[in-house]
Amino acid sequence: MNSLRAINVKAKKAEKNMLSAAQDVQALQKKGGEGKIYYPMGCTLNFTPGWEVDSSGGTAGLCQPVERDLFDCYLGCGWPAQVPDHLNNAVEWTDKCASAAKDWRNVDIVFP
């Protein structure tokens, strides 16, 4: 890291977690080299259902309300909300939501 160095045991644990989280993102961005699996770029692993939440565990602190770009994320894998996976785990998630502006209350939380 450029701006700080971990000194005690707790800080080193935190640093290790941060680095491994950063490597997760890199893994999604890199084309797999020879003998390596290629994972496509995306905001989430393909088969991870669930909402993106903010640091307090809610959705109020996100930079956009998830409802706003629901279909970008759900169908087109857009940014920034992480939404249930529409291919396998939550195929019927928006079946009762013909128009997001009117029917958004019918889109419920999905528990993995």
């Binding site: 700080l4 000194i7 941060m18």
Partner: protein, 483 residues
């Protein structure tokens, strides 16, 4: 999406999160609260913290200010992400989190057996017998019997659940007045723990007046750690540590302590000094006990006393004590830089907590991993509450631990319930302080010990600076605190 998000994000300011900043060995460190992590800041980190100390800033303002100081924009952006991820700064508001509470079924690790409530000394400051005493021994046995001790050990094994090792501390009164019980309890605990597949360790606190070669050989054979209560040289020790007829105890105990130190080599033997109004000469006491008597380690603690007691340490004396502590602490630092162990255990204990990065939900293990047991089998919060109605949590012969009382205690005493502590940066290690001290000073165990906050923060800052210097100049010294 991004067209909408960008203008909003650009208005959100960065701000500092909660930490204590300190300098040592030419470096700047942050001690993060409440996590207990310690980071050293490099140039971009120092610059960002300096900017945000003056005011909250948006990302654009930070980039403009720092670019003027010669930092590359890409470096600033990377540093902001790192500092935010490390919880040194936050982007927008944040909610401070208190430590997670241990499960109320937290397994027991240690019991303190008060094997007698009698003592052959009459130390003026004793919390069991002095004016501030909270114990009531009327109608209770003077000595613990075998049945009670064995039930207590059975309770320890049962309540320790999956723990691979347990610990029994023998305490008093003067513990050695009931040495026969201690001897039989060690045998019983060894036998029972072996059957349960657990390791067991023992320790003893004593005033050393009754030590004999036979007792010391027993302690050595069973690797029993010993804490000796002694307050320094003859003049200082005999101010408070006297027999019932007023005679000082120094001349009786020192030859016995020397014999103990010589014959018992299988576990640690430490001195425990209680500081009071006339006994506050920290360096003099330390040097006497290490150089003249031969102890490897010495720990100090101010006497718990209401402020109006004559032996209570007032602000003036406390200042002297702190100066003495600081002097010894820097000596500890010098030893550590040379890779040598210093015997001032107050520093060792604090460095260990800082190194691990503890973030305490409770100030100590009382009621959690540790319980006291009185002569009649009553289970109490810790040894200081034995024979007191306050903090009673069952009886070893009548149902064992009162889990409802224990859970109730834990629910009302965690750091989340000590609101006075919520803005204090020293709370990861202090967590409000000793329940007994709080009860004597503030009338309730759940009160924060506000009378010594400045002292705790001063001490924590001093130990952080020492820790930082050792981390920079001789980091290998700290590996001894890893486990």
């Amino acid at each position: 999406m991004s067209a909408v998000a960008e203008p909003i994000a650009s208005l959100v300011p960065y701000r500092l999160r909660e930490f204590h900043s300190f300098e040592s060995a030419g470096e700047q460190f942050v001690y993060l609260v409440p996590s207990g992590s310690i980071f050293a800041l490099d140039a971009p980190g120092r610059a960002i913290v300096r900017e945000l100390s003056a005011n909250v800033c948006t990302k654009q303002e930070l980039i403009e200010n720092l670019a003027r100081q010669g930092f590359r924009v890409s470096l600033i952006e990377m540093s902001l992400a790192e500092l935010e991820e490390s919880e040194v700064i936050s982007f927008g508001d944040y909610v401070a989190q208190q430590p997670h509470l241990p499960d109320s079924s937290f397994p027991l690790q240690r019991i303190v057996l008060n094997v007698t409530n009698q003592c052959n000394l009459a130390c003026g400051y004793c919390y069991e017998y002095s004016d501030d005493k909270i114990s009531n021994t009327t109608g209770k046995p003077k000595y613990m019997n075998h049945q009670v001790a064995e039930s207590a050990i059975d309770m320890l094994i049962q309540e320790s659940a999956q723990r691979p090792s347990v610990h029994v501390t023998f305490f008093g009164g003067e513990t050695l007045l009931n040495f026969p019980l201690m001897r039989s309890s060690v045998d019983y605990a060894r036998q029972k723990c072996a059957a349960a597949g657990k390791k067991v360790e023992f320790s003893l606190t004593t005033n050393a007046t009754l030590l004999t070669e036979e007792i010391v050989d027993f302690l050595s054979e069973h690797q029993i750690g010993v804490t000796v209560s002694i307050d320094g040289d003859r003049e200082l020790n005999d101010k408070m540590r006297v027999f019932h007829d007023g005679r000082g105890s120094y001349d009786i105990i020192v030859p016995k302590v020397r014999m103990l130190l010589k014959r018992h080599r299988t576990n640690s033997i430490g001195a425990r000094v209680t500081l009071s109004s006339g006994v506050s000469h920290v360096r003099r006491i330390y040097e006497h006990l290490t150089q003249e008597v031969g102890f490897d380690s010495v720990g100090f603690s101010p006497a718990t006393a209401s402020p109006d007691r004559l032996y209570s340490i007032g602000p003036q004396t406390m200042g002297n004590v702190l100066e003495g502590f600081e002097e010894l602490a820097w000596q500890y630092r010098d030893f550590a830089l040379e890779g040598r162990q210093h015997g001032f255990t107050n520093v060792t204990d604090t460095l260990k907590e800082l190194h691990t990065g503890v973030s305490k939900a409770y100030p100590c293990g009382a009621g959690l991993g540790l319980l006291g047991v009185g002569t009649n089998g009553d289970v109490s919060l810790c040894h200081r509450f034995v024979d007191s109605p306050v903090g009673k949590m069952g009886n070893v012969q009548n149902g064992g631990v009162d889990h409802a009382a224990r859970t109730d205690f834990l629910n009302t005493h965690h750091i989340g319930a000590r609101y006075d502590c919520h803005t204090c940066w020293a709370r990861p290690t202090c967590a409000g302080g000793c329940y007994h001290e709080a009860f004597i000073h503030h009338g309730q165990t759940s009160a924060a010990n506000l009378h010594y906050c400045d002292w705790i923060r001063g001490w924590s800052d001093l130990c952080l600076r020492i820790y930082g210097e050792i981390a920079v100049r001789n980091p290998s010294f700290l590996t001894r605190f890893d486990s």
